[in-house]
Amino acid sequence: MSALTLQNIDKVYGKTQVMHDVSLDIEQGEFVVFVGPSGCGKSTLLRMIAGLESISAGTLFIGDKKMNNVPASKRGIAMVFQSYALYPHMSVADNMGFSLSIAKTPKQEIKQRVAAAAEILQLTPYLNRLPKALSGGQRQRVAIGRAIVREPDVFLFDEPLSNLDAELRVSTRREIANLKASMPDTTMIYVTHDQVEAMTLADKIVVLRDGRVEQVGTPLELYDRPRNSFVGQFIGSPKMNIFGSGDLAVQNWPHHNTGIRPEHLEPATPKTAIVSGTLEFVEKLGEYSLAYLRTATGCEFTVKFDRSINHAIGKELHFKADHNNLHQFDSKTMLRVD
């Protein structure tokens, strides 16, 4: 049985349709990440699951119950907001216990459940503080704690890390991964625009663009077999190079675009090369270097070198790639061709 099912979900604001026919199955205990560029509708989709936005058409099931018109608080979900949305005038303990006190849970039980959640999140010393006396990372943990206390079936995260600095983001990301590991039966849906978060956290990634699902799959499926050039370019950093048929030395695929990831291009001799270009710019990152090149036909592409490269700017370089690492996309529909 799926924990959560979306069937042909549409969302319309006035005359603008922002979600188009979204269908999705999420298994119980899965960690699903919605990812896509800003404005793709990933947060809207999450808010529709949460019950904060109405569903214009289609059906939402949580468990086996239709949830379209069930109020947010009765859907068995908990949500962690980007801005934490802590109640500024309540202590950490009151913040975490708010939903229980609204539900008229006995005080003793509230205390126990808050204490248990605080224990997991290492918030016990801060229970009596106000949110303003906490650091950003601690506030984020309180927001997560507030969700844990409700013991929801489905956890929703709306870009929970985007307000944290880079270092804290990495450690909090790991905490979320640990949290998921400690709650194997809880389904989590996580929205981000950061494909690194998506790749590292997800059991299943849903790539969205312009209100449509582009591809659903495990991180490696998306990396290895992107369904179209958009997914290919969105997943992976630096992004995949897309060559038109005229840009390559081999002309086997007249109506296809060819995608090759920068890390899959290897230096070659002019005879064995499938693509050649002049070096325009180099970024040296220590661990590896990125070279930006341009083919004679004007197509820009990127190559990832193991370490530093010593070629002069303006020099022509030649590259080959393993046949398995070439992705063919139809030049009109942009869909993968195998």
Binding site: S73, S83, A85, P88
Partner: protein, 405 residues
């Protein structure tokens, strides 16, 4: 730099504009009638020469000393004793004692500047000598058979302050009554609109209902309706209502005859009027603040299972305390100082402080210090309210203009 000096000077000017009249009022209210009427409050801290007329003792005090008939006394002591007796008879608080030293004196009230202290002048064929400390001797060669004589004395009077005017104001009974009436009017007329406006502001910000924006527009448009426009219609509504209620009570047999003449002008009428006139601004200010609360907070509370009423009481009310307090201060000051509405719609027997003071201006026209004491009593209440909630006031005024303020 120059801008900072100009700003500082401007601030200083503003402070003076407010503090000087306030100080003048306070100082004057602590002075005697004579001082207040004859010298400005800015001279209150120095010795002033003030003209008095004193009555000397007459034939009843004549003593025979050697060949002469002599009258002795002290003008200050006699006058102070007489004033205290009079005050005691009238059940009034103790009067201000006259003290100081004689600067000049003369034989009549109209010419106090004839002689210096210690000099002797001729009054009614007697040799009258007045010393600096107020002691006088009046020496006659023949027996003096008349009553005392009024003499003019210029007294160098040191500064003198006291609470007599306040004691009189409170002893009168009308000022304390008016003070209580003012509280009866002001406190409900502040709390009712703040509460209604808070509910309305929440609804206008966070509830979806048809015609919401149109309704808000109408409410805000009411801001420009002048108060005066509504007096006569409102008063006639109150009068009709009172008539109708009287008729109803009479027909139900609850009262008879004159008992059924319910007053049209009541405290509750004032509460309703002030609430109605205050609501547009209250809703406007509070809506701006409450609409500025983060949306995610409301959504989070909704996910936590809170109803709109719970969101309002547990989240919105505590978080908008600064805005509520600052509008509350506005409304309190406005109602407390209101004369017009209270005059037209308020009860005719239980007067509020501004009306009472206005009436006293007629009664105690010449007693500036007494009026000032009443005025100060009416000023000190809003001052205490303002100073004790000033923190909220400043924060609340910034609300809506600065995000997160």
């Amino acid at each position: 730099m120059a801008r900072r000096i100009i700003a500082s000077l401007l601030l200083l000017a503003l402070v003076l504009v407010w503090v000087v009249p306030f100080g003048g009022l306070l100082i004057t209210s602590a002075r005697s009638t004579k001082h207040a009427n004859e010298t400005g409050f800015w001279t209150a801290f120095q010795t002033n020469e003030i003209g008095y007329s004193f009555k000397t003792k007459g034939k009843e005090a004549v003593e025979r000393i050697g060949d002469d008939w002599v009258i002795k006394g002290n003008i200050f002591d006699e006058r102070n004793a007489a004033d205290q007796d009079l005050a005691a008879q009238n059940n009034e608080p103790k009067t201000f004692d006259i003290h100081g030293s004689v600067a000049r004196f003369g034989s009549g009230a109209a010419n106090p500047d004839v002689a210096a202290p210690g000099e002797t002048i001729d009054i009614r064929d007697g040799q009258f000598t007045l010393h600096e400390n107020g002691d006088y001797t009046w020496v006659f060669e023949t027996e003096y058979t008349k009553s005392g004589k009024t003499i003019g004395v210029r007294v160098a009077h040191p500064p003198q302050f006291g609470l007599r005017n306040y004691k009189r104001a409170f002893a009168d009974g009308r000022i304390p009554n008016a003070l209580i009436n003012s509280f009866i009017v002001t406190i409900p007329a502040t709390i009712i609109p703040v509460m209604i406006a808070a509910f309305a502001a929440y609804a206008f910000s966070w509830l979806q209902f048809p015609g919401r924006d149109l309704l808000l527009g109408i409410v805000i448009a009411l801001l420009v309706v002048p108060l005066q426009l509504a007096f006569i219609p409102v008063l006639s509504i109150y009068a009709n209502l009172a008539d109708w209620a009287g008729d109803l009570s009479a027909s139900l047999g609850w009262c008879s005859g004159q008992e059924c003449d319910y007053p049209a002008k009541t405290f509750s009428g004032l509460w309703i009027a002030h609430t109605a006139f205050g609501l547009p601004l209250a809703i406007f200010l509070l809506r701006n603040y409450i609409a500025g609360l983060p949306r995610e907070l409301m959504e989070s509370a909704r996910l936590d299972g809170a109803s709109h009423l719970q969101i309002f009481t547990k989240l919105v009310l505590p978080l908008s305390l600064p805005a509520l307090a600052s509008y509350g201060i506005f409304q309190f000051l406005w109602v407390w100082n209101d004369l017009l509405v209270a005059l037209i719609l308020g009860p005719t027997s239980d007067l509020v402080l501004p009306i009472e003071i206005q009436k006293q201006i007629g009664t105690f026209k010449s007693e500036l210090e007494r009026l000032n004491a009443s005025a100060f009593i009416s000023m000190i209440v809003p001052l205490i309210v303002f100073l004790s909630m000033q923190k909220y006031f400043v924060r609340g005024l910034l609300a809506g203009s600065v995000k997160g303020g």
